[in-house]
Symmetry: C2
């Protein structure tokens, strides 16, 4: 085992997700995760406050990507176009992570405490998107409605994406979900 370990964070995430999925989240210890990754507990706690945070450490990156897309949208874009531009960036980010996303969804679905955490993260994402739209001069109601709709479309499309086998289908599923949201609220 070499002393220099590149991408310690990525290896810890991969080891944790694999163990959580194989033997259960509650049954897995930090010691097992670090052993599987060939790293120390000290290294683990440099990246994560606890084992739960391994599952949610990607939320920050996802949010940055989404907000970056909103920021880069043309000044005159409607709130929903800006939200969709942000979501486009998220789709690019997640495209290569289909097997990981699928395992992670399974782990979270099996644990009510993790489901609560996931919902809170999604709502915190919606709040950040609302704030970014208000920053662009949108009224707070339109901003809130567009942000919540964007997060709902993402959530529905994501569930469909991990539930099927084609990693490239995420964009199509997102477009379909947005289209379906339009029909549903219009009816």
């Amino acid at each position: 085992m070499s002393r220099w370990k590149p991408d310690a964070e990525g290896r810890l995430i991969k080891a944790a997700i694999t163990l959580f999925d194989a033997q259960g989240y509650d049954a897995t210890t930090v010691a097992e995760i670090t052993a599987a990754a060939g790293l120390t507990k000290r290294t683990f706690f440099r990246y994560f406050a606890d084992k739960r945070e391994v599952l949610f450490s990607g939320a920050h990156e996802l949010q940055d990507r989404w907000l970056g897309g909103i920021e880069a949208a043309p000044a005159g874009a409607s709130p929903m176009s800006a939200v969709s531009a942000g979501l486009d960036g998220v789709i690019d980010l997640l495209a290569g992570r289909h097997p990981f996303a699928r395992m992670r969804s399974r782990i979270i679905a099996a644990n009510p405490e993790l489901q609560e955490r996931e919902l809170i993260k999604l709502q915190s994402l919606a709040s950040a998107i609302t704030a970014a739209l208000v920053q662009r001069g949108q009224p707070v109601n339109a901003a809130t409605l567009a942000a919540q709709s964007g997060v709902t479309v993402f959530h529905v499309a994501f569930a469909r994406w991990v539930d099927q086998d084609d990693p490239a289908a995420f964009r199509r599923l997102t477009d379909e979900s947005l289209q379906e949201l339009r029909s549903v609220v219009a009816a």
Copy 2:
């Protein structure tokens, strides 16, 4: 003080909300709540697991009302019409509780832990609405999108309702929010 105390639950809620709002949620004890209501701690714990649950005990009634409205909607109603029918019942339920709702919103807005709890309750409401729509034969995606949209409209309209002085405005604010959601997602 008479031994027979009608509506102990309602009096405990009223006393708790008033104290939380006046002196802060964290600073208020169950002993203070029961003293203000003229009741015992034993009575308190017959109704509530802890002081936090006083703020969320109405969620069950709200959800029952919403699901009852969905159940009573015509068989051929679109998912969004069924969701709106449920929301109509909720508006009737809350109509007389404007001062209470306003204090409660203020208490929750001041405390991140209560905000998390509120979001989880709203998401649990959205899940129950989704299940009720699926029960009526709606596909799960349309059901999820309609349920989330309904809860978003409710949440936005509720925030506007407690932020202004007319208790009778809730229905109008709900209609406006749904109309605005339609424009936002169509744009």
